[in-house]
């Protein structure tokens, strides 16, 4: 797990150790059964089939239904021991121990699992498990609480110091968690009935869920590859510096976060910022690179780029939201922008953010002025901020300029 909050993983590891030790002493362990052997073996098999979300730095494994089964038949201590043992065994077998970073991530992940098992087990224990219905309820509750705790912890680590986007989290996780719960109920009831021979049948649905999660990871990859390819086409058509796009993207995301847009939306703003000038693919590079003031006709041609950007993104469902931001990134609060002469309240906040950050970067030519525009010398950061202030309320949104100024002053970028 990648995180921007350095202390969070440490807190998680300490909490994980506390939960693991606490569970061993607080909760009773039940009588041994054949399922005690079968369930960890099945959990171990799934640990060897993880799915990696490369961009988010997250590794998803699929042992939860079997750990839930352990919680039902062996009690919470059994589930914690099985979870940790399986994790350590998989880590050793995959040679992760030799890689300090992988070992560290595995430790964080095990701690995360221990906390989730502790809370899942604690709530589960409130339901009596003496009947089959009770065992099924226990498996359901354990999986639900475990899954939600795990998701919250992972997203907390990922979000770092920014607030969690709970709405997006629930929407993304609801369906897989529901299928997981059904599966855990089946595993829990088979384990409770001591039908250990039938437990391997649960591997079928687990592999199905894995394939679905893998396809979700692939969807993410396709999306980012589309952005990369479009940016590459823009680079080929017009030699944009990669540094300019990267800086505008990074700063736009930061401003969006500070304006309270939420992590998911801020990430979208970052991606839109990379593509904000995409329409320039269809603009004559002789005009874009002209080392003099543009004629009215030339300027009209250049102005088309925001509409072209929207048109290019139109066929892709995932770009539907950001295409509007790209269309309006040259609108002005005083209503004299283009292409639609929108007034202040009609302009999306995301477009306003991109407009401010892009203008600042164009004026300064980056931190060291290396990416200066061909027709003028770069300004100092102070001069550029003064210029943004001067145009605040007419060309740029006041709140965005104020927030961006704080970002620059804070040296976050």
């Amino acid at each position: 797990m990648r995180t921007r909050n350095d202390r969070a993983p440490l807190v998680l590891i300490l909490a994980g150790i506390t939960c693991a030790l606490g569970a061993l002493f607080i909760f009773p362990i039940r009588d041994p059964a054949l399922a005690w052997l079968v369930l960890p073996m099945l959990a171990l098999i799934t640990e060897f089939l993880p799915v990696q979300f490369h961009r988010r730095g997250i590794l998803v494994t699929f042992s939860l239904p079997f750990i839930a089964g352990m919680a039902v038949v062996a009690g919470v201590p059994g589930a914690i021991i099985a979870d940790i043992a399986v994790g350590v065994a998989a880590s050793a077998a995959l040679n992760q121990a030799r890689d300090p970073h992988a070992g560290y991530l595995r430790t964080v992940s095990l701690s995360n699992g221990a906390i989730a098992v502790f809370f899942g087990g604690a709530i589960m224990s409130l339901v009596p498990g003496e009947s089959l219905t009770g065992a099924m309820m226990q498996a359901l509750i354990f999986t639900l609480i475990h899954g939600m705790t795990n998701l919250l912890l992972v997203n907390w680590l990922e979000a770092g110091r920014h607030p969690l986007d709970l709405d997006a989290l629930v929407r993304r996780a609801a369906m897989p968690l529901m299928v997981y719960c059904l599966l855990a109920v089946a595993v829990g009831s088979l384990a409770w009935r001591d039908a250990a021979w039938a437990l391997p049948l649960a591997l079928g649905p687990v592999l199905g869920i894995r394939a679905i999660v893998k396809s979700q990871a692939a969807v993410g990859n396709t999306y980012y590859e589309a952005i990369t390819t479009l940016a590459m086409m823009l680079q080929r058509a017009h030699p944009y510096t990669h540094r300019h796009l990267a800086r505008v993207a990074l700063a736009s995301e930061e401003v969006a976060l500070r304006l309270g847009l939420g992590t998911k939306r801020a990430r979208l703003v970052r991606e839109a910022a990379i593509l904000h000038d995409l329409g320039k693919i269809a603009i004559d590079e002789d005009i874009l690179d002209k080392p003099a003031k543009l004629t009215a006709e030339e300027f009209e041609h250049v102005k088309l780029h925001s509409e072209f950007g929207e048109k290019i993104l139109m066929p892709v469902a995932e770009f539907q939201e950001m295409k509007r931001w790209i269309r309006h990134h040259h609108e002005r609060p005083d209503g004299t922008g283009y292409p639609d002469q929108l007034r202040d309240s009609q302009i999306p906040i995301e477009s306003k953010i991109i407009a401010v950050v892009d203008a600042y970067d164009a004026m300064t030519g980056g931190a060291e002025g290396r990416d200066k525009r061909s027709y003028r010398d770069p300004m100092t950061p102070e001069q550029a901020i003064t210029e943004l202030d001067r145009c605040s309320g007419t060309q740029f949104d006041r709140a965005v300029v104020k927030t961006f100024t704080r970002v620059i002053a804070g040296g976050t970028l």
Binding site: A198, G208, A211, L234
Partner: protein, 213 residues
């Protein structure tokens, strides 16, 4: 075996079946739709840069689809052929705006002709950097090569359809067809030319087709 255990086992089998269907049919269908959308975006960018190319890409895609059917290509080959047709011209973004939009093709210098001719290579080079599309790069690059048996079927079909569409746009359908006929066996795969002429452009063909099969 107790009834409840039997019911749970049946539920697991049913769940496995549903997930199997979802994974093997629904997900690939959605992925294909998504990839096609993305490729259409690339294609739109090129059509906006060079409006004179508008429609050519769509015509090429539609011809490739027809040919894939006529030649009985597998769904996998048909999909990669259609993807190649959509993506083969993304390298045009590296061609100067003024060359195509401001200067008639007849007035191009040798160097300008050479610059233009290498755009499939540029497309392939760009696709090589995109993991999910990199498998199409060699197919697009090989469309520049003359016919030989080792070439992938997608490259051979793309070569025929591409040359026909481009010649048709510049010189008309009759000349485009004639060129295909003359080039069959040397530049083009004769089986594909035959399928093309038989199924897609039957009217202007001379009665005897000089192809080596």
């Amino acid at each position: 075996m107790e009834l409840d255990v039997l019911l749970v086992i049946l539920s697991l089998l049913l769940l496995s079946g549903l997930l199997y269907w979802h994974v093997n049919f629904e997900i690939p269908r959605r992925e294909q739709v998504r990839m096609t959308q993305v490729m259409r975006a690339f294609s739109t960018a090129i059509q906006l840069r060079f409006p004179s190319h508008e429609g050519l890409s769509n015509r090429l895609v539609s011809l490739c689809r027809h040919l894939a059917f006529e030649l009985n290509l597998s769904p996998r080959q048909a999909l990669s052929l259609e993807s190649c047709a959509l993506l083969h011209d993304i390298g045009l973004c590296a061609i100067p705006y003024g060359l195509i939009n401001k200067k008639p093709m007849m007035m191009w210098t040798d160097m300008e002709n050479a610059t233009y001719a290498r755009y499939p290579d540029v497309s392939a080079a760009m696709l090589e950097l995109v993991p999910s599309l990199s498998h199409l790069a060699p197919l697009i690059r090989d469309q520049l090569l003359d016919f030989h048996e080792e070439l992938a079927i997608e490259s051979r079909v793309l070569r025929v359809a591409h040359d026909f569409v481009w010649t048709e746009a510049r010189m008309g359908g009759a000349i485009a067809t004639e060129r295909l006929v003359l080039g069959a066996g040397s530049h083009y795969d004769p089986i594909i030319v035959n399928a093309f002429l038989g199924a897609i452009a039957p009217s202007p063909i001379p009665p005897a087709i000089p192809v080596r099969i």
